[in-house]
Amino acid sequence: MRRVVVTGMGIACPLGVGVEHVWRRLINAESGISAITAFDAKDLSCQVAGQVPAGTRATGGLDVNEWVPVKDQKKMDRFIHLGLVAATEAVEDSGWTPETEDDRCATGVMIGSGIGGLETIFNASIQVHEGKAKRLSPFFIPSALGNLASGHVSIKYGFKGPNHSVVTACATGVHAIGDASRLIALGDADVMVAGGAEATVCALGIAGFCASRALSTGFNDRPQAASRPWDKNRDGFVMGEGAGCLVLEEYEHARKRGAKIYSEISGYGMSGDAYHITAPAEGHDGAFRSMKAAMRSGGYGPGDIQYVNAHGTSTPLGDDLELEAVERLFGDAAHGLAMSSTKSATGHLLGAAGAIEAIFSILAIRDSVAPPTLNLDEPSRQSVIDRVAKEAQQRRIRVALSNSFGFGGTNASVIFRAPG
């Protein structure tokens, strides 16, 4: 199989817009969680979330007008806006501008979304309920469809290669990156823009996850303390919104055009729990097999990996089970391993989580620094693994693994290594 490298990155998340800006804030142990301002959440048990801050690109905030023409904005749900922001930064960063038809046809897009245009569907449903079905916008369906971030990015740039999308709940981002890397490895494309986009900080999204008893409810008065993976007082995840995109490229293709190479994708694994729709299996067997498959595909042993970006959502059940699975898989190599959950700062971006966490894993390698797990005051379970509590750590990181697990019992793990 052909080698696949990362040559561009873009991000919009609760810590801001722009890879370097977001990374600086993450390493400084800042939090992107706040009281919900997108809608009035006073009737809901969870009233905190991670929202992309308003501002300008120059200051690391979001002004959609800078990224999407005004007349096109109403044709897209917010998740597509966010996907376009991340994809645009990633493409610009990569410097890849295909000039020939062959090059355009060898460049594809795979940006997934866990849920798609939920708020758009919510608003359209109200219209139909009020007897205004005939007044629905002709753009309702293409605004809501989960694959339309991929569609819009391909239209914007003329990328005519594989146009694909992924819907695997909270594993979407890793699946999109891993599957896109396979398309390149197998020769279906030379370049892929891959990642995830999500915008479910809306009344229906928060109410829905409240109903599944998945969200934190005890920190409405202290939003920045709400996402606390592995801490004994954690009580559920905090929803975040945003998008992350990578430009993936066949190694020789990148080398020939003199592209900057951040990292190589050197392992990818998947598994299914076959157990329960929302709860992880005993011992997080699915996570264990997913990580093991990724390591096998890259030819890695436990001692080869220095950093794990955990799924670690801050739910009572999942965090310790994942920790247990990593301990079991790494055995003696668990000593000296760093594993953190950046969801402590960003919240859980569902289908975009794996994509932004891939970026954090790659930057952890680039800068030899493990980003922190905020709010980890007192772990509910002791471990030899260093969970990078509260402050970033300088560490030599050559190989990093990132996990994402989704409802339905779907698991994905991806491994990045230093270039060269």
Binding site: P69, V70, K71, D72, K75, R135, S137, P138, F139, P142
Partner: protein, 78 residues
């Protein structure tokens, strides 16, 4: 310019994001103002809303230019 014409012009500018000067009576929504077929569906819905009229599908299909829209609405409002 009649009230109808002014209002139609304003709707077209808002929905298609085009320069006001380009919205001449003979301008075609698709050929001159950059609309696609879904944009025209939305435009007709906006006309219906603004003028409180119902434009049946076969009539809507014949509204291709700014003048077509002005004529149709003026006729309906009489």
């Amino acid at each position: 310019m009649s009230d109808v014409a002014a209002k139609i012009k304003q709707i077209v500018v808002e929905h298609l994001g085009v320069d006001e000067a380009k919205v001449t009576p003979e301008a075609s929504f698709i050929d001159d103002l950059g609309a696609d077929s879904l944009d025209t569906v939305e435009l007709v819905m906006a006309f219906e809303e603004a003028f409180n009229v119902e434009i049946p599908e076969d009539a809507a299909e014949k509204i291709a230019t700014v003048q077509d829209a002005i004529d149709y609405i003026t006729k309906q409002s009489k």
